[in-house]
Symmetry: C2
Subunit: 430 residues, 2 copies
């Protein structure tokens, strides 16, 4: 089986100043193409450590994908290390990359400097894969079988996430030219609303009867819920997919209405599809989630077809002035109350003239909680037509995590309401 190691270079990663998102994107693409990712490593911007890291990767795997250490600034040790590793003496200028550098700089209104010019220059041992989105070229190096015990391909990509991502299809194509690829298949079911341990208990018996070449993984996420990923190895395409279908079909009934989608689905994409198919619209009224609900809706391309907009009513004056929440409601019950979110949801629905609306009001923390309404308390409401349904949740987590959970639970309340009204599904008693 063709294997890969992913190596990220950068002190900024090892001191924890940035999170490496490139490895995940690259791993996902390699995996889908049937390349097994053995390991990911991150090393510092030091020449010796880069060299040791790369040699370790080359010994471990057929394919090595490196990101980082390239860029217009002076921390460019990677190119030199790769030249040394492959015995390159001379550099050559990539005319194609230079063309892109010129174009990118023109769009951004920046003048070409000698630093930019140097970026088009690469070791003679490499084949350039043009970086269409940025100034640093991607480089492909080949190592003969006698060097590390197997033929190796090494790809060096820039660290800027969208530049690295754009290069991935070309990397996959080059791998396919050089190695016969075996199949791995995955199937993911997305659930929301059942805690991981409860879910594990519920599907325990089903899980105990899985064959050896089928692997189940739990992927909990505050926004996406708990996703269940089934992976099958060492089997042909058609048979593999059939097996995955067969086992997911027996799993579905165990999940009930907590099951909301599969693969890359999110609550907001699933809701969006139902709304679009039924010609319906939605708006949001947010207090504690502060724009997160709207952001989730609008993260989906094409959401303008059904998402009309929202009001972020952080200050109570906006709740009363724009959303027409009654002053007495705030005085009597407070902003974090069933009554307030009901009026917020109804208010934004009237204001924006949508079919549905969601509202949130809670205490994200770290300050602001009371004994009665501690940090982590949220009231959410979903208005469907004239009817408003509310629910209260309590969480314990950071401000960021609380906001994410508040938003996703509000989104899920809307989903169950939409399922009832638009598809005639009845909520099953969980």
């Amino acid at each position: 089986m063709t294997t890969a190691s992913i190596c990220t270079i950068g002190d900024e990663i090892l001191i924890g100043q940035i999170v490496d998102t490139n490895s995940s994107k690259i791993a996902s693409a390699l995996n889908a193409a049937g390349v097994k990712v053995n390991e990911m490593i991150s090393v510092s911007d030091n020449g010796t450590e880069i060299l040791n890291g790369l040699e370790h990767c080359l010994r471990t795997s057929h394919v090595v994908v490196v990101t980082g250490g390239l860029g217009p600034t002076k921390d460019d040790i990677t190119k030199k290390t790769l030249a040394d590793l492959t015995g390159a003496v001379k550099y050559y200028e990539s005319a194609e990359q230079l063309e892109v550098i010129r174009r990118v700089l023109t769009v951004r209104g920046i003048e070409m400097s000698d630093i930019n010019l140097a970026q088009a220059s690469v070791p003679e041992t490499c084949k350039v894969i043009v970086n269409e989105c940025g100034t640093a070229p991607c480089m492909q190096f080949e190592f003969p079988e006698n060097k590390y015990g197997h033929k190796c391909l090494l790809f060096s990509l820039p660290g800027v996430p969208f530049e690295a991502e754009a290069a991935i299809p070309k990397v996959i194509a080059a791998i396919k030219e050089n190695y016969p690829l075996e199949n791995i298949f995955h199937k993911t079911l997305c659930t929301f609303g059942i805690p991981e341990s409860t879910l594990a208990k519920r599907i325990e018996e089903w899980e105990d009867h899985l064959p050896e070449n089928l692997h189940l993984a739990y992927l909990p996420n505050p926004i996406l819920g708990v996703r269940l990923r089934l992976s099958i190895y060492g089997i042909g395409e058609e048979e593999g997919k059939q097996e995955l279908d067969r086992y997911t079909e027996t799993l579905r009934p165990l999940l009930g209405n907590a099951l909301y989608g599969q693969e890359e689905d999110s609550l907001q994409s699933v809701i969006g599809n139902i709304l679009k198919n039924n010609g319906k619209t939605v708006a949001v009224a947010e207090s504690c989630t502060g724009g997160m609900l709207a952001s989730l809706f609008t993260s989906v391309a094409g959401s303008s077809a059904y998402f009309y907009g929202g009001v972020i009513s952080y200050d109570n004056s906006v709740k009363t002035g724009v959303l027409k929440v009654k002053k007495e409601t705030l005085d009597k019950y407070g902003a974090v109350s069933r009554e307030c979110v009901e009026e917020m949801a109804a208010g934004v629905r009237n204001l924006m003239k949508t079919d549905y609306a969601i509202a949130t009001s809670g205490i994200a923390g770290p300050g602001g909680g009371t004994a009665d309404k501690p940090v982590g308390t949220v009231w959410v409401a979903a208005a469907s037509g004239e009817r408003v349904v509310t629910e209260k949740f309590s969480f314990s987590g950071s401000r960021k995590l609380n906001i994410e959970r508040f938003a996703s639970h509000a989104m899920n309340l809307l989903r169950t309401q939409i399922l009832c009204r638009e598809t005639g599904n009845r909520m099953r008693e969980e």
Copy 2:
């Protein structure tokens, strides 16, 4: 110097289904405590690979911090591997962790299952560090000098990010008890609005005169701009901090008004501080950024003191109906125009009665662009009192990246306006 390796366990990481954020948090804390992180690795949920990965880490570094592979579900191979590695035969039940498990489950309204009960059971060779936020205990193992050439400490933390994060201070405390820690100091300056290569050119001469033990790194980020991190090694605390101050003082004037803060500052936290100190308020009117601007403001704890709220006017009916953008403006200039964002900013400022307001209207993509207004075009406006300033930007990137850049450039426009009005700073011609 005391060194550390960070090892994350999980197929979900190697197949690219989730991004590892734990390593970054842990690295940041270790670094601040003076522990040098040598490397980060990610391995699969397979017993042999976990064992190989851990032994590699133990040989490489004094301290090994492991996350993942623990949890209420069946993919708990980590505990068994750690038991084997340390020669544990028996397990014992941690009464303290069991107490937390009971508490956590009660809050969430979940009944205790035998799966939860098993989580409190740990190998006899480990010292439990109670996980206060979740059900899986953190474990500390010690390896004598003769095993890997140096005394090693291994910490195993749960994979759930906020649970891992909560355990970090206890891990640091345990490391301090066992190793003498050396100093590393960092100082970060945050800039916005100057591209990385232009910045590099501008400070080239300054950079050429840095001493050998001072290292400069560029940290570009679509939301935070380009941050410049200076690190100093092998020097006492007072002297180290003085050196960092001395070099950053000579750097500041080269950065002009692009310099907006330091360390963990963000555009929104800096703006927030100025508003709070001057008793001023702000609101947002968003089209293409769809809630991202509001989310950035409200990501800052205490933002309710100056952030009143916003209107997400995704549909044009909301622009005219709620924000009072004139229908003629939309007909004549379109929603992505100087005229529209001017009216949006003024509209939300009137509606919410704030001192300042920002508005955005653009095309995030992937669809929807025209030859005249291609994907990546955005108009942003900042209203300060009755005056509205606008600016147009063009970017090329994914939908997500475009939204982030639209929002941060709007935020930066507001920052420069606020600097003018609240602190009397004049924009320097860049």
